[in-house]
C-alpha cells in the first residue's frame, strides 16, 4: 500500500517538470491565438516550430558553433580553475587573504570586457571562448578553494599527529571532500559559460546562436529569434543535466550524508 503510494509520488516528482513545461507552451499558444498577439512581438510556439523546421540547417550549424566555443571556454575554466583553487585552498592563510580579492574580481561584469577582447583578438570565436572562460572561471576557483580550506581542523590534527604530510592530508581528505563543491560549481559554471558565449556572439561574431538571433532580429524574423532562443535553452539544459548527473553519480555520499544530517 505504502510502497505503491511512494512509487506514485516518485513518478509525479519525475514527470512534474515535463508537465509544467508542456503546460507553459500550451498557455503561450492559447494566449497568442485568443488575443491575436502580433507575431512580430511574440510569435506563438507553433510559428516557432515552423521556423525551426524551415531553418533547421543554419540553426544546427550555429548551435554547434555556440556549443563548441562554450565547451572550450568552460574546459579551460575547469583546468585553470581547479589548479588555482588547489593553490588557494592549500593553506588557510592564502585562502583568507585571497578570498576577498577573488570575490571582488567576480563582481566585475565580464560582459564589459568583450569590447576590449574584440580589439585584442578581432571578431570571431576567440572573444566568445575567452568570455565563456572568464565568466565560469571564478565560481570554480572559489568552490574548490572553499572545499579545501573548510576541512575540519580536528581531522587534520588526527592525521598530522600520525606524521602525515600536507600532501597526504590533501589526497586522503582535502580533495575527496572538495569534489561535491567542484561538481556543484560545474553545474553553475556551464550555464554561465553559455551566457558568456552568447553575449560575446551578439556583439562580435559571425557565427553562433547569439549572432543568428541578432541577424534574425534585424530582419524582423521574430520566430527565428525565438527558435534560436529555444535552441539555446535546449543546449543549456542538456549540459546542466549532464553535470547534475555526473554530480549525483560521483558524490552520492554527499547527498546521502547531508540528507541524514538533515533528518
Amino acid at each position: 500500500m505504502n510502497g505503491l503510494r511512494n512509487r506514485l509520488i516518485r513518478t509525479a516528482d519525475a514527470t512534474a517538470p515535463l508537465l509544467f513545461t508542456v503546460a507553459l507552451f500550451v498557455i503561450w499558444e492559447v494566449v497568442c491565438r485568443v488575443f491575436k498577439v502580433d507575431p512580430f512581438i511574440l510569435p506563438a510556439p507553433s510559428r516557432i516550430v515552423e521556423a525551426m523546421i524551415r531553418y533547421w540547417q543554419p540553426l544546427l550549424r550555429h548551435s554547434f558553433v555556440t556549443l563548441w566555443t562554450t565547451m572550450v571556454g568552460f574546459g579551460l575554466a575547469v583546468v585553470f580553475g581547479v589548479a588555482l583553487g588547489l593553490v588557494v585552498g592549500w593553506s588557510r592563510t592564502i585562502y583568507r587573504s585571497l578570498y576577498p580579492v577573488m570575490i571582488g574580481f567576480n563582481t566585475i561584469p565580464k560582459v564589459a570586457v568583450v569590447p576590449i577582447l574584440v580589439i585584442w583578438f578581432g571578431i570571431g570565436e576567440v572573444p566568445a571562448i575567452i568570455t565563456a572562460f572568464l565568466i565560469s572561471f571564478f565560481p570554480i576557483v572559489v568552490n574548490v578553494a572553499t572545499g579545501l580550506a573548510t576541512m575540519e581542523p580536528e581531522l587534520e590534527d588526527v592525521l598530522r599527529a600520525l606524521g602525515a604530510r600536507k600532501l597526504d592530508i590533501m589526497l586522503k581528505v582535502g580533495i575527496p571532500r572538495t569534489l561535491p563543491y567542484l561538481y556543484g560549481s560545474l553545474k553553475v559554471a556551464i550555464t554561465l559559460a553559455f551566457v558568456g558565449t552568447v553575449v560575446s556572439e551578439t556583439i562580435a561574431a559571425n557565427a553562433g546562436l547569439g549572432y543568428l538571433m541578432v541577424q534574425a532580429g534585424s530582419n524582423f524574423q521574430m520566430s527565428l529569434v525565438f527558435a534560436g532562443l529555444i535552441a539555446l535553452a535546449i543546449e543549456g539544459i542538456a549540459m546542466y543535466a549532464v553535470f547534475a548527473y555526473v554530480e549525483r553519480k560521483s558524490t552520492r555520499w554527499a547527498f546521502r550524508s547531508s540528507m541524514s544530517a538533515g533528518a
Binding site: E154, A161, K172, S257
Partner: protein, 265 residues
C-alpha cells in the same frame, strides 16, 4: 623510573595578530602519567585542555618547559598516539572499515605493508570493530550509523595502529546519557584488553571518576594542574559503582574543587 608522559613546567602563548598580546593558554603546567595509566583531565571551559593534548601529540611546541613521551623529548608529531574528539570526524565517502584503516595509510611500517597485506589488515580492523560491538558494520557508511556508533568507529580508528598512548578530547560530550555510559564501558573494556595509556579530557566528573586512575583538575586560564586525585575504586568497575557513596563522595570533592578554581578566575 621516569613517567611515560612527562609534561614539565610548560608554558604556551597563542600569538594572535601582530601587535595584540596573544592568549596565555598554559602557564607552568606539569603533569605526569605512568605507562598503562588511565589519566583524566577536568577543568573549566577554555582553560587549555585541548591545548595540552596538542602539546603532547607534538602539534604545538611549548614556549617554555619540556614534554617527553616514552622518555623521548617531543619535537614533532608523535606517531605512537591515537586521537579521538567529540566530533567523530568520519570521512563520509569511505565505508566504516576504510575509515578505521585510514591511519594505516599514513603510519609506517603499515603504510608500506598495507597493499601487500591488505587482507590481514582488514581482518584486524574487523576484529577491532567487533570488540566495540560493531561486528559486520564494516561495509556500512558513516551516515548509516548513529552518533554513538560513529564514536565507537572513531575509537577504533584511533587504536588501529596499536598506539601506546590514546588521547581523547571530550569524546562522549555530544552523546545522550545512556549512550555515554555504554561507551564508558566500551572504552573501559578496550583499555583492560589492550593496555594502552590514556589521557582523557572531559567536563563530566562522573565520567572521569568512573574511568580514570587519576583525575587532574586544571585551573582557569592560564591553565595549570592544581590538584591530582587518585581514584582507588576497585577494578574492574561496573556502572553500578557510580551509585555507591564512595563514588559520589569523590565526585562531590571534585565538583567543589572546580567551583573553587572557577571562583578564582
Amino acid at each position: 623510573m621516569t613517567p611515560f608522559v612527562n609534561i614539565y613546567r610548560v608554558t604556551l602563548t597563542y600569538r594572535g595578530s601582530p601587535g595584540s598580546a596573544g592568549v596565555l593558554a598554559l602557564q607552568d603546567n606539569s603533569l605526569q602519567v605512568e605507562r598503562g595509566e588511565f589519566a583524566a583531565v577536568v577543568g573549566p571551559s577554555g582553560c587549555g585542555k585541548s591545548t595540552l593534548m596538542k602539546l603532547v601529540t607534538g602539534l604545538v611546541r611549548p614556549d617554555a618547559g619540556r614534554i617527553a613521551v616514552d622518555g623521548k623529548e617531543v619535537a614533532g608529531p608523535v606517531k605512537i598516539v591515537g586521537m579521538a574528539f567529540q566530533n567523530p570526524n568520519m570521512l563520509p565517502w569511505r565505508t566504516v572499515l576504510d575509515n578505521v584503516m585510514l591511519p594505516l595509510e599514513i603510519v609506517q611500517p603499515h603504510r608500506s605493508r598495507l597493499r601487500k597485506e591488505k587482507k590481514a589488515y582488514r581482518e584486524k580492523a574487523e576484529a577491532l570493530l567487533a570488540t566495540v560491538g560493531l561486528a559486520g558494520f564494516g561495509d556500512r557508511y558513516p551516515w548509516q550509523l548513529s552518533g554513538g556508533m560513529q564514536q565507537r568507529v572513531s575509537l577504533c580508528r584511533a587504536l588501529i595502529h596499536e598506539p601506546e598512548l590514546l588521547m581523547l578530547d571530550e569524546p562522549f560530550g555530544a552523546l545522550d546519557a545512556f549512550t555515554r555510559e555504554e561507551l564508558w564501558c566500551v572504552l573501559r573494556d578496550l583499555w583492560h584488553k589492550l593496555g594502552f595509556t590514556v589521557i582523557l579530557v572531559t567536563h563530566d566528573l562522573r565520567e572521569a571518576t568512573f574511568l580514570a586512575d587519576t583525575v587532574h583538575v586544571m585551573s582557569a586560564r592560564p591553565g595549570r594542574i592544581v590538584e591530582s586525585r587518585r581514584i582507588d575504586l576497585p577494578r574492574p568497575r561496573d556502572i553500578a559503582v557510580t551509585y555507591e557513596p564512595a563514588f559520589t563522595g569523590i565526585v562531590h570533592d571534585l565538583r567543589g574543587k572546580i567551583a573553587e578554581v572557577r571562583q578564582q578566575a
